[in-house]
């Protein structure tokens, strides 16, 4: 796709004689993503747009784009192995907009990944990721809904260090919730 040719512009013509007033209030630029976007959000510090994109059922990506330069500033892959079956919808952010978390599903296994603004190696990611099934003693028999991106687990920051998460274990129709300390990597209130 030709970036210049398909440049989107705000529809300010509808303002008729007031068009000039609105002309310079917005900036726009096409940023072509490699794969279709599942969700997109802007960080609370207004520095970046964060996207979740889906290559296929086995591989998703979280990417950040600098809102000043429109260049990609962060990328992490989720899944990508022959046995992966990923469900991921949203990225959560802390109040400062510089700490992030995803709660996702991989073939019956619930996982929580926290990250900042710097891309990490696969080894670092694996070392820091929380295996929720192992932590809570759950089996991997949960079946998600095929055409829905929802991972059956959601999370929210309650402070810069604490992340609340809850999931639905479908074989037992049980709701589980807990608080995860990102710094100490301890789970409480389960």
């Amino acid at each position: 796709m030709d970036d210049e040719e398909h440049q989107l512009e705000p529809n300010i013509k509808k303002f008729k004689q007031f068009e000039e007033l609105f002309k310079y209030l917005t900036r726009s630029k096409n940023v072509i993503t490699q794969y279709p976007i599942v969700t997109c959000m802007i960080t609370y510090n207004s520095k970046s747009a964060v996207t979740v994109t889906k290559k296929d059922d086995r591989e998703y990506y979280v990417k950040m784009y600098d809102l000043g330069t429109y260049k990609q500033s962060f990328e992490e892959k989720i899944g990508g192995t022959p046995t992966s079956y990923i469900k991921l919808k949203e990225v959560e952010q802390n109040a400062a907009g510089d700490g992030f978390a995803i709660a996702y599903f991989d073939d019956g296994n619930f996982r929580i990944r926290t990250f900042g603004e710097s891309t990490r190696s696969d080894a670092d990611i694996a070392a820091e990721e929380l295996d929720v099934n192992k932590e809570l003693g759950l089996d991997n028999h949960t079946m998600p809904i095929d055409n829905f991106p929802d991972p059956f687990i959601t999370c929210v920051f309650v402070s810069d260090e604490l992340l609340f998460a809850n999931l639905y274990h479908t074989p037992t129709r049980t709701h589980h919730s807990f608080v995860y300390n990102i710094k100490t990597r301890k789970v409480s209130s389960h």
């Binding site: 079946m143 998600p144 809904i145 929802d150 059956f152 687990i153 959601t154 999370c155 929210v156 920051f157 309650v158 402070s159 604490l162 609340f164 809850n166 999931l167 639905y168 479908t170 129709r173 049980t174 709701h175 919730s177 608080v179 300390n181 409480s188 209130s189």
Partner: protein
């Protein structure tokens, strides 16, 4: 979970309310959990139960926002 909750149910979105020091978690099939957080300012929540569960609607919930920690705006379908 109540009998109405099937295997197609799942937590859709959760929100933290600083004012109440509770997390509100909303399920696809209309259930709402209020879960007091004890890791922060635990005295405020010491007399509360571990959770409150309500069936807030008998239709499926979709995309949602919590306004000022008080009002839920949600898409819904039957």
């Amino acid at each position: 979970m109540p009998e109405k909750s099937t295997k197609q149910n799942f937590p859709y979105k959760c929100f933290y309310s600083e004012e109440d020091n509770e997390v509100f978690s909303f399920y696809r099939q209309g259930q709402a959990f209020r879960i007091p957080i004890t890791e922060i300012d635990s005295k405020r929540n010491e007399n509360k139960p571990a959770y409150f569960l309500e069936q807030i609607i008998d239709k499926d919930l979709g995309q949602m926002y919590l306004v000022n920690g008080k009002a839920l705006i949600a898409r819904s379908s039957s």
